[in-house]
Symmetry: C2
Subunit: 413 residues, 2 copies
Amino acid sequence: MLETIGAQAKEAAFVLGKTATVKKNEALSAVADALVAKADTIIAANEIDVQHALEAGMKSSLVDRLKLTKERIEAMALGVKQVAELDDPIGEVIGMKLRPNGLKIGQMRVPLGVIGIIYESRPNVTADAFSLCFKTGNAVILRGGSDAIHSNLCIGEIIGQVLEEQDLPKTCIQVLKDTSRETATELMRLNRYVDVLIPRGGAGLIQSVVQNATVPVIETGTGNCHVYVDDSADLDMACDIVFNAKTQRLGVCNACESLVVHKAVAQPFIKKIAERLQTKGIELRGDEEACSIVETILPATEEDWGTEYLDAILSIKTVSSIDEAIAHINRYNTKHSETIVTKDYNHSEQFLKEVDAACVYVNASTRFTDGFEFGFGAEIGISTQKLHARGPMGLLALTTTKYVIYGDGQIRE
Amino acid sequence: MLETIGAQAKEAAFVLGKTATVKKNEALSAVADALVAKADTIIAANEIDVQHALEAGMKSSLVDRLKLTKERIEAMALGVKQVAELDDPIGEVIGMKLRPNGLKIGQMRVPLGVIGIIYESRPNVTADAFSLCFKTGNAVILRGGSDAIHSNLCIGEIIGQVLEEQDLPKTCIQVLKDTSRETATELMRLNRYVDVLIPRGGAGLIQSVVQNATVPVIETGTGNCHVYVDDSADLDMACDIVFNAKTQRLGVCNACESLVVHKAVAQPFIKKIAERLQTKGIELRGDEEACSIVETILPATEEDWGTEYLDAILSIKTVSSIDEAIAHINRYNTKHSETIVTKDYNHSEQFLKEVDAACVYVNASTRFTDGFEFGFGAEIGISTQKLHARGPMGLLALTTTKYVIYGDGQIRE
């Protein structure tokens, strides 16, 4: 069955790849309108999923993520309209150069082709991922979680109908009915038809895709993010940044999970930040020195340094130098987002150069790692791998290039 | 054992990543000198490999690829010197933009980290791949074929000694002594330490890496390349291009393996090209129409359309339109290099836009797909995948970027 779905996606991608921007934007706009117009149908399908979730005893926070309301559907539709308004990167030709033999060689930006998205509960990903893939000329195969299957199929069906009305292949979007693990694995190995896989979800899902896929994967983001408070830091600024990075939103990949503090400022700074974080009930786990400064800090274990809590917990490590800070961060981080707070020029440049992560900050909160905050107008995820795309991924991450070469009869001697 | 090698490579990469360009260039120059100075040692080691190959009854063409002479070692050293002279892409910051909140966000070009190269017989790849990885600040783990193990280890040892003399980690290059399949598979799954794998060799090797690796792979090139002769083509030009693309060098990935001809010009053109190719003893295999035009053309089977011969054979397909030509090419090609010969403006643009390949040409031989011909001054391989790098890969393909963000205390509201 996946063979057929793959072949259909490839055919749809060929048609979509040569569709004019205006036409794609009209279709996206019509999709947004249809989602709002058919909100009741979507809510009815979603209620089946919610009912199943409640019967299965799903945690209320997860049920909440699963639940669609009129307002949420409107927000989803607005997201699709916003993607329609973004510039279309497809077709641009970059760096056309004339070679000594008269060949003109440039790189044309083109769609990737067929994108597989493997995701978990939230059904809004269905419309969201579709719109980004569609805008960039890619057909998409969506494999959501079984929890949200009725919602996902319903949204996929509505979008497919609109595409058909717009004389575009409805197979530009295909939602897999079968949410079994076997079918997911088959999708991960469908190299003949699928050009790239993007897993969106928790660390378990992402690792399963990395381990099982033969199709190239864009690994998206777990974030064990650090803030390093340098000996020269403005401690008020450092306190604001750590407080923001840890507490502005718990449970997101760009939240701070670990604080690294230079020993020269450990005494005043750890007291100050512990007091501030206490107002939000954050649990602190520190090394020996940190524990000796504030008695409510619990002893951290080796495991703490490598843990992305996604919770109201912060680990605290003290260091004797910026080199030690950088070594600690590079050892335990997940290559996501790292910040130094400093007034020292050399330390700022060293940190930017030597820390191995998708986003390295001086004097700012790690929470800015986000496609919208970076000005991309969209985000398909945050890549923590090094190939193809690194950091927040906007529309460009869903494209590739091909060399186009204009000749007048050149042959190789 | 690979665990240790991986950890050593990671450490070496950290040191090399912050080494100044001048220092890297001096080391490369010293490596080139040492290769020439120790040519006798390399030749002695190589003779063991050659002797084993002869005893094992290796084909003489393969023995020739394995064999190192003084001239070949000098050419190898010259290649290393040329890499030293190329611009260093590391450290460049691209597109620094000021956001409304005062954050300055740019992308710094940085090394990938640790690169694993898995390759077959030719021992010159050892020095070649090392020099490109080293120039771009990457540590390299080389897993060559067992045929060339003595040569590879000897070259690796000489390079490592030079690095040590230059106060750089000798583990910037590590040649695996163990050439077993198990160790290769272990390398392909060493995600903790290896950032990317580049297989260099035949289709079997590349597929084995794609199927077994969990480390991201840059797939390099098998090439089932087509030349399409349009109804509006200048037939003399078409004849020169096909002749060049097929015969200038057999057995290379950018050679033409299949000719697609519009039926309107099939009669004169197939006669003309068949006569010309006969002078080089090229076997022709065609569809029914092609066979009806020249009687020495053998009937092609379905398998022929998808075959990269790497040999003195060319398949010939006739089509009724450019659309049919494009559909045929997209169905059977390996996404490498494709050419249209035409005088029609609309056809040239349609072909460039709709053919799915790393390099798409108008009126030029497919043989130009090459890092040197494209002006990169180097080539680590030709990528036929769509992620990260597509087409000939020079130094840039061995780098990634990280976002660097300059703030003055920004926190997210």
